[in-house]
Amino acid sequence: MAKIIVYYAHPGQTFSRANRAMARRASDIEGITFVDLYAEYPRHDIDVRKEQVRLLEHDVIVFQFPLYWYSTPSLLKEWQDLVLQHGFAYGHGGDKLAGKALLLAITAGGSDEAYTQEGYQQHTMRTFLTPLEQTAGLCQMRFLPPYVLFGALKADEATELKHHIDGYVELLTRIRDGKFELKDATADELTSASDILSLSKD
């Protein structure tokens, strides 16, 4: 059993296919906290105290976002800048998040081939996620294998997107019910919908 909080950050939800559908399904799952960051802070004035209290109340922190310029959308970055304060999240006396886990649920426009050393992005997805990985590290949190959808803009709605969203719901439900092992990601490890959905067949 784990308490999950999902931070969903998407500044252009009207135009979203994958993330909006993922968010809708995730917010329906009982017993998890779902935060639409852009809805809660439309004017980017994050309530630091409130966020810190929320973090303390949960075990698994999920960042759900589309990859923007190899990073998070700006509000989620602002959230990290302000909420992960010294003395709270890291540094002197900053061990409040120790032992919790960070899960990234990311959609990327490029294909999985693009995110290789031979592909046009020239680096793997995990290389681009290094700052977030180390953020978790500095906060003494486990960094779970990120749940990634490649080629999100071209994914077919009825098959690929549905598959990914089903996998997302399954993953969150399993974590909630304690049926998913929370362990640090190995080098270059990612999770896909197929990985999650095949678990249920076991």
Binding site: D45, I46, V48, R49, G91, H92
Partner: protein, 661 residues
Amino acid sequence: MTDFLLLAFVFLVAGVIAVPIASRLGLGSVLGYLIAGIVISPLLATLGVDVISIQHFAEFGVVMMLFLVGLELEPKMLWNMRAKLLGLGGLQVGGTTVLVMGVAMMLGQPWTISLAIGLVLALSSTAIVLQTLNEKGLMRSNGGQSSFSVLLFQDIAVIPMLAFVPLLAMPELMDLATDTGHGAGAHGAEAHGGSHASDHGTGDHGASLSLVDGLPGWQAALITIGAIGAVILGGVYLTRPLFRFIAMAGLRELFVAAALMFVIGIALLMTLVGLSPALGTFLAGVVLANSEYRHELESDIDPFRGLLLGLFFITVGAAIDFELLLGNLASILGMTFGLIALKSLVLLALAWVFQLQGADKWLFGLGLAQAGEFGFVLLSFTVANDVIPQNLADQLLLIVALSMLLTPGLFILYEKVIAPRFVKTQERDADEIVEVGEVIIAGHGRFGGIVNRMLRATGYATTVVDYNASHLDMLRSFGFKVFFGDATRPDLIHAAGIEKAKLLIVAIDGKEQINALVHYVRENYPHVPVIARAVDRQHVYDLFAMGCVEIIRETFDSSVRTGRSALERLGMHPFDAELAARKFAEDDRHILKEMALVHDPKIPTSQNTAYIEKSKTLMKEREEQIFGKRDVFDLSTDRGWHPPSEEDLDAILADHEAKAP
């Protein structure tokens, strides 16, 4: 004078008692009035009241109702209805007339009388049907719209009928009529023209004045066309400056007077040229459907319509001749039910031809199955023209009245038995006809104007209500949809559609007016969210106490922005100035909310100890900030980025050194 007061009192008491009871029992207001009429009829007989002449006066309610119906109907919608209007209406009147005529001939009446009876009974009751449809919210359904089309056609058809009826006159009745003329009572006299100068009732051509009498046909036609043209052109070009001029005076009752003058004037003009006044005012209503004065006119005329129609229904109930009824109980009841069945059959056949589905078919079929008030008019006219003998007319009158009396029963049958069976189709239909919920903006000055522009720019439909006529003219020239009127008046805000509104924005000036509007809407339409403008701090508390959640202080945001500009001008970094402004605003809102919670509008502030205590505590906190006893902003909850302190830095470095290999 005493007679008049007594009469008015009797009618009012009857209505005030019977209608709420009938409504509570789910019978609808029409049946309530009819029953009230039946109950007071012995009393009226004792007082020697001429019920029929009151009825003719009350028929003016129908004229007003059609004006109001016209206001709701834009010319484009009317044009879209033309197929239904002519097809459904024409076939209903034609078919019913022929069938009723056939039955009458089988019962041994000569063809002339039979045809007249057919015409009389083909008409339905606009008053009852529209009133009931509106009351039950069925007006916009497919069945309701079809019913309305037929009623409108009938209203028009009365005119040629009145022209046609004298041609059926039977010479052998002529002498008889002069002998028994007084037996016809008011009808005869009225139709001969003269006794009811105040009567502008539907289809009443008995007015003593006429512009077209004795003129050659082509001249009469020209004058008639000219009158219709005057109504349309006057409605389009003259009403706006006229209403504006009146609005400038700023007197409510003057506007009511103007609205009445307008409707009565048109009715009079129509009567003078021999047209149906109901048709004329309906046309004027359609012309004004796009006007900004529409809602104001609606709410001004509506009470008169309601009272007059109520009076009309009471007189229908009161006019039932029970002696005659009991004398011929079986035959009259039989003929009444026969008539309802026959009319229903014609209507159902039409519904089938015009592909009305499910519950709509039955609404249409049952709703119009009665004879109507136009029947009364036509009947008295036929008697006056020696077409139908008096004793037969009296029986017919009873049939017409009874069929009207039974109509609410048919609607109840529809509502309780038939409609539930078609719940599924009804739901689907409902989806199709659902109107887009609108945002109502009360007040379009410096405040509401900006809100309106913003909402419209983002594609929302707004209804603006404002009491400044010159203001509205300007807005109209920019193509905004605006209505004239005082938004604090319940009837006006109702006419503007508060019931179905998605949101009400209160942007009017003046604390009292804002309070009145918010209070009324919170009490009566708690489902409509309200965003209210607050004049000052104290006003916020008042609005909060009324259950208003979204309260915007009218000058707060601009003041904060001014403060921010000042900080920037004084050399503060723009982002720091922004953070200071945000922090200030949040802090201020916090105080406001705390104070609103302890504020009690029933206790004067000077006696509210909780309020005083709270304000002292909060003041102390602020003072500490202001005089620098504490940091203005609490570090841990600050919105901005802060570096670790020197101490922390040393600790981090020490930590790193310890870990270093």
